[in-house]
């Protein structure tokens, strides 16, 4: 999959800035005040898109992990890792904004009878073990494989969990704001633009992290070649929960021969 020309971090960043500015303008100057909650309801345009994007990212992590197990190509594992990593950050933001909203509208920082928020907490707690799991496996190939198994299991768990928790709450809050179907027009438009802004933010951060990983892999390869020439013993790389891209095959050559070599990890 070559998205490189289409969506470099820079292009995505500009798009994010534009759409985010539009979304914020709409939120504060266009969307009408909600009758019951007033200004507080504006957090809806941040909280709900964050939750949706984060959950989609978790599920995307599972799908990318399927691609990794099918092909055995570790680049898919890196993508799956980055997707889950970003979703965790967005998930934390979801929980915080959800908490603020709950405090504002119901007077408590946490309410157990809001099934969506409770499901989200369970999913978040499950994914919070993703990085400790990776960290606890030393062999990189096995780490990638086991992490993919986890990502697929957890990805399938997400909808199952939402069904179970939703069933469990006999008393569901009047969900005036939860469902997008019955939103009045201006609110719906604002919501859709906000969702697009958050999704673009996710895509920007995702591609930035992937690019950083490629750059780091290239740097590592270059450093190793320098070390080879100066007879420095190989550096022990620090152990990390984050997967790294494979090094290009080890060749003994001169520095000048390097310019003609394909650069590692450009494909993604």
């Amino acid at each position: 999959m070559d998205w490189k020309g289409l969506a470099t971090p820079r292009v995505l960043a500009v798009a994010t800035a534009v759409v985010m500015a539009a979304a914020l303008t709409l939120v504060f100057f266009y969307a009408p005040l909600e009758a019951e909650q007033g200004f507080l309801q504006k957090i809806f345009y941040v909280h709900v898109p964050l939750a949706i994007v984060s959950l989609c990212g978790f599920i995307a992590g599972g799908i990318l992990a399927i691609a990794h197990l099918r092909t055995g190509d570790s680049r898919w594992d890196v993508r799956s890792y980055v997707a889950i990593h970003m979703s965790l950050i967005f998930g934390l933001a979801t929980l915080i904004t959800g908490s603020i909203w709950a405090k504002g509208s119901w007077g408590h920082w946490w309410v157990w009878n809001e099934p969506t928020l409770v499901s989200f907490l369970i999913v978040f707690l499950l994914y919070a073990t993703y990085q400790p799991l990776r960290f606890a496996i030393e062999d990189p190939e096995r780490q990638a494989r086991y992490a993919s198994v986890f990502a697929i299991t957890a990805g399938a768990f997400v909808p199952m969990n939402f069904i179970a928790v939703r069933l469990s709450s006999a008393y569901v809050h009047p969900r005036v704001l939860g469902a997008t179907g019955n939103l009045p027009g201006p609110m719906e438009l604002t919501f859709v633009i906000s969702l697009a802004a958050i999704a673009l933010l996710y895509a920007t951060l995702y591609s930035l992290e992937l690019h950083t990983k490629h750059a780091r892999a290239q740097l590592r390869a270059l450093r190793r070649r320098v070390d080879e020439r100066t007879d420095v013993p190989e550096r022990a790389s620090a152990r990390s929960a984050a997967p790294s891209l494979p090094l290009p095959p080890r060749t003994v050559g001169t520095i000048t021969s390097m310019s003609g070599r394909p650069r590692a990890g450009r494909e993604a």
Binding site: L69, I122, V123, L125, L126, T129, P132, L133, A136, I137, E138, R142, R145, Y146, S148, V149, F150, I152, T153, A154, A156, F157, M160, N161, I163, A164, V165, L167, S168
Partner: protein, 224 residues
Amino acid sequence: MKRTVGALLRKEMLVELRTLESVPGMSLFSLTTFVVFHFALNRNSIDGDLAAGILWVTLLFAAMLGINRLFVADSEEGALDGFLLAPVDRSALLAAKVLALLSYLVVLELVAVPAFALLLLGPSLDPGLGGLVAVLALGDIGVAVVGTLISALTVRTRARDLLGPLLTLPLLVPVVIAGARASSPLLALHASGTPSGRWLLTLALYDLLFGLIAYALFDFLVED
């Protein structure tokens, strides 16, 4: 396949009978936990929601002991390598381990549920017993499947005793929700005999979903 599963299951049972590593520990743990709950809650008898919750939490934590140990002996004593050398389907190992864990859970419940009725439960267990057996059976399948998958996932990690429960507990939250909600009317003061079909269906759906996932993914966990 059937013969392989049978042979593997026989081996599991033999090892457990000779070492008595899991089941006695799990059963004893459940009894101790009931005593702890008695003092922690300062209640002599409980019923309804509270009873269902305590029963499920206790069973879940006791199951965790078995889940943590499920693959340890195989991994440390080289049985896993031996199995990988044999020309058999790897899913046979999954099936055998799930059945082994399921039988541990059944034995655990044969001890824990009567003890619970004796020590903590206020109302009589008799009217809801059939329903409770059905709920526990469906719950056990889910616990056994997820437990086996996670046990295989964490056995060769450092800090597996920590990671195992951390991964298993959130995954089993739907089982606890459905199991506890389904058994709470059975343990209530004026017990109704049958659990609600909605929760049994949720449990069955969970078992099916994770059964398929475990079947699809288990091969990747025993590749080397």
